[in-house]
Symmetry: C2
């Protein structure tokens, strides 16, 4: 076996590295190797503790549950309160798979954010995605209004929407399982939008579709505009929360109970949103009237149903949120 060639020596295999470069690279190479060893050890320790913690957590949770049941104690009973609180608090250290919807796409993946900054970055990415997609949605709608007979273009747009809502639903579920206060409804809203987009794809290029398409794309256009306003507000809200979060230096806990109150930017946003929701109601009614003329075309009925559900859920959620925020 050959001895390793000394640094900077001529090498039969090819050009050589000057010795100062070698010594520099060797130094950072050694440093990186040492650091990686320390990291592996630290991870090993953390993983061992994680396993132990998960076992203890599950055991204690079971015991508390059994006590609740055996002694018929309500959660508000003073004695049990502290147990329940600790369990809720420490749940942020347990793994999560993001719930049924996410599991249906990704299987058993641990999607717990262990660091506050990771969660913040993810949430920001989610809002930026919505912000960047809004102009695309608007462009699609304008194109569909212009090429109102091009069923291929319309389908492409509808398929894009289906993808878009799957994306949002996945990310929102992940956020929700990491302590976001997002209301269940907004996620359901995106499931319904997803179903609606799929139903639109299956709608054949019939006279009923031709009658409906223009209204649909005008609504889409308005939605895109609302989206821009809304994500602008959400991003501002996020940056506020982020600076608050930084101040408290909590790097492990993910739960965040900061409540944002009714602000001036909301006073502009909410009327715009409410108009959009009235538009949804109008579309729903239009569809039911259309169905009366084209009985047997179930796509019309299904779309009408989706729009009704979206209107009802959105409107009541927005009103409820407003009432909460104004402290009523």
């Amino acid at each position: 076996p050959e001895a390793a060639s000394p640094a900077g020596a001529h090498d039969a295999a090819g050009p050589r590295l000057p010795s100062h470069a070698v010594s520099e690279l060797d130094a950072s190479h050694a440093q990186l190797e040492e650091l990686s060893q320390r990291l592996k050890n630290a991870l090993y320790q953390a993983h061992k503790l994680q396993d132990e913690f998960e076992g203890s957590f599950a055991k204690h949770k079971k015991a508390v549950k059994a006590a609740h049941k055996e002694y018929k104690l309500s959660s508000r009973s003073q004695e049990m309160c502290k147990y329940d609180e600790l369990l809720t608090d420490l749940d942020t250290l347990m793994p999560t798979d993001g719930g049924t919807f996410v599991r249906a796409y990704l299987g058993n993946l641990n999607l717990r954010f262990m660091r506050h900054k990771e969660r913040m970055r993810f949430k920001q990415g989610y809002e930026l995605f919505k912000q960047h997609m809004a102009p695309l949605i608007i462009a699609f709608c304008v194109a569909c209004l212009y090429f109102h007979n091009n069923r291929w273009l319309h389908m492409l747009f509808q398929l894009f929407l289906a993808y878009y809502y799957v994306n949002l639903s996945l990310r929102e579920n992940i956020l929700r399982h990491n302590g976001s206060n997002i209301k269940e409804w907004w996620i359901v809203h995106h499931y319904v939008s997803m179903i609606d987009a799929v139903v639109l794809v299956t709608w054949p290029n019939s006279p009923s579709y031709a009658q409906f398409a223009t209204k649909l794309h005008l609504f889409g256009l308005y939605m895109g505009v609302v989206q821009i306003f809304q994500t602008r507000y959400q991003l501002a809200r996020l940056y506020t929360l982020r600076s608050l979060g930084k101040a408290s230096e909590m790097d492990v806990s993910n739960s965040d109970s900061t409540q944002v109150h009714y602000t001036r930017s909301m006073a502009i946003l909410v009327p715009i949103i409410l108009v959009g929701q009235m538009f949804q109601l109008y579309i729903a009614v239009t569809l039911f009237i259309l169905y009366a003329r084209y009985r047997g075309e179930y796509q019309i009925l299904m779309c009408g149903f989706c729009f009704s559900v979206m209107f009802l859920g959105n409107f009541s959620s927005t009103v409820l949120t407003m009432l909460e925020k104004m402290g009523v």
Copy 2:
């Protein structure tokens, strides 16, 4: 302010907990709290090291790259070899977002498996998913063959397939970015299948569709059967790897270079797969002939294109894999 009621005392708020239960719960409560504190500390340490490591890694990588460029050294140059090796090795400690496709659905999420057992569980979940879905695919195909005029049922099946291939593609990309040796082609194959399923959804209920549907569902039926055989083989392969992995007790590194050679179970599997691929070729040809009769129906052409690509890619990949495994 009231003092806390002593353990086991009567409590105005409701029924009381017997003192032995209280002391038991208190003990496990305290233990859990203490453990969580230790875990938080360990995580804090690990995260700090992780940040430091990521910084060093990026810096060293840049320096090595610069040296490669400046001194025009090839990777095979003996001097650079050890630098490149360490970087490849330690890449398994760096975060990964799973590549473009996964990022398009999930945004900036760290999908690196830091533990061997996590990755194994994920891979197993992926294989089990395929195994559990195969009977469903078969059932769908049988139903579609029986109700050959029910376009709704056919659409439902095609939408299911679109979902199914998105699911597979997501998981395969995640696996690939965590050291799996899966060939790029199999992922591309699932992208193409996904596109094919979407094209089928948009195919109107026309005479051309009626002529094609039976062949399509017969092929689907055969595919489902192949799937069952293939996942059975992959799961057996996985369990072998897993026991090898356990023996070496590597819990941090994810890379795995174990090569599986040509086995007896493969000798049964491969002919079944090859027949399936010939079936794909047959479908492709059928579609091109059909297009000659129904010019202007682009769905026919697009499906034909998808099937041709799938046949070519699958067939050559399988043959190449076989040649590699037999050591040719």
